[in-house]
């Protein structure tokens, strides 16, 4: 396997993504909304308005969430006032699964652009006539999707951490974020979700002719992330460190299975026949 080939393919795909506004614009807009504007609104609006904290804290759903909360998560809330507790609950716990939208979304955008997009623009045939192996082509394209998906997620995490600590400095008077549960989420589940999104998109791209078709179909994978969010809000699945590690493991196992299927589907002859 020639690493230079893999890196060249990844670099070329990333260069193409950079030139395609439809592909990179969501990678800027979505994180800006979710990691800057939303937390700022949650932190700043209550301080400058007379919103009653009691309504939030005494909400029956929240009471149920708090009642079922594992000790490790509840311990973080001890000794905090109502406003601090609200911020920790909302921004530290309930928003956490939402972060998984980033790797899933970015992975599917770039993979759809790289696999289905190349076929749609009829550039694939020239690439297949190069002295590269199927494996090099596949890994180059996977790398092109994995780097921005995980990279933008991690950069978003750093920004989120800065926003929460800087905007919340006058409330917490100390660095309060990231919470322990986030480490598994960011460094274990995020790459797993990105991989899952990429391999699923490769499989979908083998059957769909256009970038938009592949992207729209693979976007339905966001339902997994929504499942995590509902699970946590309803008190069924709390993303503790242990649960995070376990969830990550399950996603990695599914990713590996999908990787094997995706590699099988990525063969020169079938790619050209399917492309017509």
């Amino acid at each position: 396997m020639n690493m230079k080939h893999i890196i060249s393919i990844a670099k070329k795909d990333l260069l193409e993504v950079r030139q395609n506004r439809a592909a990179w614009l969501p990678m800027v807009i979505v994180p800006t909304l979710l990691i800057i504007l939303l937390p700022l609104a949650v932190i700043l609006i209550p301080q400058h308005t007379a919103l009653p904290m009691d309504d939030f804290v005494n909400d029956p759903d929240l009471q149920s969430f708090l009642a079922k909360m594992p000790e490790s998560m509840a311990a973080v809330l001890e000794g905090k006032d109502e406003f601090q507790r609200m911020l920790i609950l909302l921004l530290g716990y309930l928003f956490a699964p939402m972060f998984l939208i980033f790797p899933m979304m970015f992975a599917t955008i770039v993979a759809a652009e790289s696999f289905a997009g190349e076929r749609e623009r009829k550039t694939l045939e020239a690439l297949l006539y190069t002295p590269t192996t199927d494996q090099e082509l596949f890994l180059g394209k996977v790398l092109a999707a994995f780097i921005p998906a995980v990279g933008v997620s991690w950069i978003s995490f750093v920004c989120y951490t800065l926003v929460l600590n800087i905007a919340g400095a006058s409330i917490f008077h100390q660095v309060w974020f990231p919470l322990p549960t986030w480490w598994a989420l960011i460094f274990w589940i995020t790459p797993a979700i990105a991989s899952l999104g990429i391999f699923a998109t490769v499989l979908i791209s083998a059957r769909v002719k256009t970038f938009m078709g592949a992207y729209q179909t693979s976007s339905s994978l966001v339902i997994i992330v929504i499942g995590f969010m509902i699970g946590q809000i309803s008190g069924v699945l709390y993303l503790t460190v242990g649960v995070g590690l376990l969830v990550g493991l399950v996603v990695w196992v599914i990713s590996i299975v999908m990787y094997r299927l995706a590699v099988k589907s990525f063969k020169r002859d079938s790619l050209l026949v399917d492309a017509g």
Binding site: K4, E16, T123, E125
Partner: protein, 316 residues
């Protein structure tokens, strides 16, 4: 002759459709072989099989002594392919396109950069080298795609419809470039085309294909010998020829056929050009006033349509 590609009893199926049905031919080092035929004849499939993109259903291919089904990567190092569509990355510049393909061909960086600049000069693209390909005309894209095919000094060049959709000026420019590149590097070239004029101009030998089969293969002269022996001689006269004179001319040695195309125009099929003075002499003897005598060998177009319409051998 030194054969660089040998194809024996090659069959290829796409599902239930037979794309190639038992074809055999060889390509000699340094020659330009034209694959002619309508859409669906199997020209592009042949290129894909030779380059190891597909594995054949049965039969064998040897290219540069290698088997494409097993040694695709090594073969693609030695071949350059111009695909039917330019297949360029339109959002990237011309230089980025060539640099990417040069890297995949493992050209070392300084050599790659020098080669790319040489190709830009040769294909008259130097001034637009750093512009995005999406801003290029069709002819410029085709020239850039040709540059990409030739980038890694391939021993064998495959050109699939190199002038399809180009205006006559651009097509002529591409022809000149192919001829110059061949003269300079002595490359073996396989040219797939619908354009018979292009094939006649560029190819040493021609393989005429239909529905996955090769109907005939050889140089234009060999194809003429096989399918259209003789020379058409057009005789333009001041007055129509009488039946008697036509009968006399028909009896001359070497005259195969005499037909009256219309009143003042007579078409003869003769064996060789050497009997043309005899024919002229006889016509003058019989009082005919000759305005013009035009010998014409059967063109590729005549042979091609004969084969496509009749399937196989038989005089045109």
């Amino acid at each position: 002759m030194d054969s660089i590609i040998t194809i024996t009893n090659l069959i290829h199926h796409y599902g239930t459709h037979t794309a190639l049905n038992d074809i055999s031919f060889s390509v000699n080092r340094g020659e330009v072989l034209g694959l002619l035929g309508p859409n669906g004849a199997g020209k592009t499939t042949t290129i894909r099989l030779i380059n190891g993109i597909f594995s054949p259903s049965s039969g064998s291919i040897s290219i540069l002594g290698m088997n494409p089904a097993l040694q695709g990567e090594q073969i693609r190092r030695q071949t350059g392919v111009l695909t039917e569509t330019p297949a360029l990355y339109e959002r990237l510049t011309a230089r980025q396109n060539l640099d990417f393909f040069g890297t995949l061909a493992d050209l070392p960086t300084p050599e790659r950069h020098a080669r790319i600049n040489d190709l830009f000069s040769f294909f008259q693209l130097a001034e637009r080298a750093d512009d995005r390909v999406e801003t290029f005309s069709k002819g410029m894209k085709q020239r850039l795609a040709l540059a990409r095919a030739a980038l890694h000094f391939p021993q064998i060049l495959f050109l699939d419809e190199p002038t399809a959709g180009l205006d006559p000026e651009s097509a002529n420019q591409v022809h000149e470039m192919i001829l110059t590149a061949r003269k300079k590097n002595g490359q073996t070239t396989i040219l797939c085309t619908h354009n018979l004029h292009e094939a006649q101009r560029l190819c040493d030998r021609l393989a005429i294909m239909k529905k996955g089969q090769i109907l005939a293969i050889g140089s234009l002269d060999q194809l003429r010998q096989q399918f259209s022996p003789g020379i058409n001689l057009q005789v333009r006269l001041e007055q129509p020829l009488s039946m008697d004179v036509r009968g006399t001319i028909r009896k001359l040695n070497g005259v195969l056929r005499v037909e009256e195309a219309h009143s003042n125009l007579c078409e003869l099929l003769i064996e060789t050009e050497s009997i043309i003075p005899d024919i002229a002499k006889h016509l003058v003897q019989y009082g005919a006033r000759i305005l013009a005598l035009t010998p014409r060998k059967a063109g590729l177009e005549q042979i091609y349509f004969h084969l496509q319409n009749n399937g196989t051998a038989g005089a045109v």
